[in-house]
Amino acid sequence: MIRATIILLSLVTPTLASAQSAGQWRGPEHIWGASCGYCHDEGVGPQLRGRKLPAELIPPVVRQGLPGMPSFHPSEIDERELASLARWITRSPAPARAAAK
C-alpha cells in the first residue's frame, strides 16, 4: 500500500507543480511569469510594474480586458489569486531592463 502510494505521488506531483488553473498558482510571480509577462514584459502591452498602479483597478481590467488585451476567466485565476497578483504588481519595482531605458 505504501509502495502504491509512493508511485501514485511520483506520478501526480510534477503535474501539480506545473498546474496553472484557478487555485493552483504558486503565487503572483508564477502568474506573471506564465501569463502576464509574455505581453507586459515584451513590449506587446505596457509595462505595469514600477508604476504604483492602484491595486483595486487591476482585477476589473484582468476580468474585462482592454483593447488588445484578452479577458481572464475565474477558472484560470480566482478572486484571491487576482487580488494577490494586483498587490504584487502595485508594489513591484520596474524590471531592470525597463528601468535602464
Binding site: P14, T15, A17, Q20, E42, G68, M69
Partner: protein, 490 residues
C-alpha cells in the same frame, strides 16, 4: 426558464462556485474580437466541471432541461470567437479546471492531457522532468492548450505543426454520457493508445474536431525530440507579383523535407502591422495602399514577401539543407537572410504575434482562412482576389500563409477597432463577401469563427451539411452540444 433550471441543477454537480449566471460574471466570456455584435453570441451561463463524471452528469442534465452546452478548453480561440457561442443562450462548458497532465512517455515521446492543460503548463512539466522534448504551439501558445487548438485543427510552425496529425487517441463523452476512447484506447489495459492513432475499423478522431458530436475530455499527442541542431532564416522577394514564382520554388523544398517546417509566408503589411502603429504609417482614407506599405517596409529591409522557415536535424544535415535552400531561393529571384529568429519555430513560447492588435488598437481581429492549393498561380489568384475585395471595403490586406502538405493555409488577419461601429460593419461585410467570392472561385476553408460558420459550411456543400446532420442526430439526438458549431444542427 430551461437554462436557469439547468444552471441550478448544475450547481449540485460542480458546486455553486463553479457556475456563473450573472451578467457581470458572464462578460469576460461574452467578449469577442470578431466584427459581430456580442449579443448575437452571448452565453447564458458558464459551468466548470472538474471530472469526466461531472461532464457526464452535466450532459444528462442539459438533455433533461433542453439546455445547450458549448465546450471550451482554455476558451481563447482569438479572432475565431474566443469563448463565445455560435448562437445566444448557450451555456459554456468551461473545461479549464480539468487540467491534469495524465502521462508523458519519454520513450515513445507522447503525452496524454486534459482540455485545461496549457502549452506553457506542458512545457514547464517537460522541463521539470528534464525531458528533451519540444511541443508545437499556435501563436497564442502560453495562454492556450493542445486540446482546444487541436480540436479546432489549429497549427504551429515546428515540424509537428499539424496538431491534428500529431494527436493520437481521444476520450470523448457523448451526449448520453457514453465514454468513448478512440483508436487503441478501447483495448482493455491498452498499451498503445498514444502509439497508433488509427486503431481498428473507422478512424473516428476527425469527427470530433471542428464539430459538436461529443465533448473531448482527454487527448494524446506526440512530442518532438529536440533536434540536435536547427537554423532559421527569412527568404525575401521584393515584388508583389513574385508570389507565384516563390510558391513554385518553395513547394519542392517542402515536399522533399528540405524545409522542415510549414514556415510562415508573411506579406509586408503583416510585419508592418506587427511592429508599427497604423497612424504612423498611413492616415489617409480607405485601406493601406499597396505602395505605401511597400515603401514603409523597405525602410525596415522588407520586401513584398518574407518566408520565415527553419531546418532541423543533425548539424551536417542542417548545413546541407541550408545550402540547397539558399541556391533555390536565389534562383527564384529571392534573397536569403540567415538566422532570423522566430521563437515559435524553435519551441520558444511567445505572444509577440499579438503585437498585431496594436496596429489600430481596438481589439478587433478576424482571421479569414482559405486553403490555397500549393501552386503559384492559385496563390497569386487568391492574393489578387482578396486584396481587391479588401480595398473596396477599406480593409487593410495582410496575410501569413503556412506551407503545409499540398496546401497553403492562407490566414489573413483583419485588424480593426471594434469600438468603431462603422469600421466593424465594414469588416463584417468584407468578410462575408470574401467567403462568397472565394467559394465561387472554387476555394474552401481551413477554419472559421462563430457568426460565419453557416456561410462557410454552405461553401463546402449541402451533402456535407446533411451527412453531418445525420451523424449529429445519431450521436446527440437532443442537439445538446454546441448547436451551430461548424454549421451543424439536428
Amino acid at each position: 426558464m430551461a437554462v436557469e433550471a439547468f444552471l441550478t441543477a448544475a450547481a449540485t454537480v460542480v458546486g455553486k462556485d463553479h457556475v456563473i449566471a450573472d451578467p457581470s460574471g458572464l462578460a469576460p466570456f461574452a467578449r469577442i474580437m470578431l466584427p459581430l455584435p456580442e449579443k448575437e453570441h452571448a452565453p447564458a451561463g458558464v459551468v466548470s466541471p472538474k471530472t469526466v463524471e461531472e461532464v457526464q452528469a452535466l450532459l444528462r442534465l442539459a438533455g433533461e432541461h433542453k439546455a445547450h452546452l458549448w465546450p471550451t478548453s482554455t476558451g481563447r480561440n482569438f479572432g475565431y470567437g474566443t469563448s463565445a457561442t455560435a448562437t445566444p443562450g448557450q451555456v459554456i462548458l468551461d473545461l479549464r479546471r480539468m487540467n491534469r497532465i495524465l502521462d508523458v512517455d519519454p520513450v515513445l515521446c507522447t503525452a496524454l492531457v486534459e482540455p485545461g492543460v496549457t502549452y506553457k503548463q506542458l512545457q514547464d512539466h517537460l522541463r521539470a522532468e528534464k525531458l528533451e522534448l519540444w511541443i508545437d504551439f499556435p501563436a497564442p501558445g502560453p495562454l492556450v492548450g493542445p486540446v482546444g487548438n487541436t480540436l479546432e485543427r489549429g497549427g504551429g510552425t515546428t515540424p509537428y505543426g499539424d496538431h491534428f496529425g500529431n494527436s493520437c487517441g481521444y476520450e470523448v463523452v457523448l451526449a448520453d454520457g457514453t465514454v468513448l476512447r478512440t483508436g487503441m484506447g478501447g483495448v482493455k489495459d491498452t498499451t498503445s493508445w498514444q502509439a497508433f492513432r488509427y486503431g481498428y475499423g473507422p478512424f473516428l478522431d476527425g469527427i470530433f474536431t471542428q464539430s459538436n458530436f461529443g465533448v473531448v475530455t482527454k487527448m494524446g499527442l506526440w512530442l518532438m525530440p529536440a533536434p540536435p541542431a536547427h537554423r532559421s532564416g527569412m527568404a525575401v522577394w521584393q515584388k508583389p507579383d513574385d508570389i507565384a514564382r516563390l510558391i513554385d520554388a518553395l513547394r519542392p523544398l517542402r515536399f522533399d523535407g528540405t524545409i522542415g517546417n510549414f514556415g510562415t509566408l508573411a506579406d509586408c503589411n503583416l510585419i508592418l502591422a506587427s511592429s508599427k502603429r497604423r497612424r504612423d504609417v498611413y492616415d489617409g482614407p480607405g485601406a493601406l495602399p499597396l505602395e505605401v506599405g511597400l515603401a514603409e517596409g523597405r525602410k525596415m529591409g522588407l520586401g513584398a514577401w518574407q518566408y520565415l522557415f527553419s531546418v532541423y536535424g543533425r548539424p551536417d544535415r542542417v548545413a546541407s539543407d541550408w545550402a540547397v535552400i539558399e541556391k533555390a531561393v536565389v534562383a527564384a529571384g529571392g534573397t536569403l537572410v540567415p538566422d532570423v529568429y522566430d521563437p515559435m519555430q524553435v519551441g520558444v513560447l511567445s505572444l509577440k504575434t499579438f503585437s498585431l492588435l496594436n496596429w489600430v488598437g481596438g481589439h478587433g481581429l478576424a482571421w479569414f482562412s482559405p486553403v490555397t492549393p500549393m501552386r503559384g498561380a492559385d496563390a497569386a489568384r487568391q492574393m489578387t482576389l482578396a486584396r481587391g475585395i479588401m480595398d473596396r471595403h477599406g480593409v487593410d490586406f495582410m496575410t501569413g500563409m503556412t506551407l503545409n502538405g499540398r496546401e497553403g493555409l492562407n490566414v489573413m488577419p483583419m485588424v480593426f477597432d471594434r469600438s468603431d461601429a462603422a469600421s466593424t460593419a465594414r469588416h463584417r461585410a468584407c468578410f462575408e463577401e470574401l467567403i462568397a467570392a472565394f467559394g465561387a472561385a472554387g476555394y474552401g476553408f481551413y477554419r472559421t469563427g462563430i457568426g460565419f460558420m453557416d456561410k462557410v459550411a454552405a461553401v463546402h456543400g449541402e451533402a456535407q451539411i446533411e451527412v453531418n446532420r445525420r451523424i449529429k442526430r445519431a450521436l446527440d439526438p437532443g442537439g445538446v452540444i454546441a448547436p451551430g458549431k461548424s454549421g451543424i444542427r439536428i
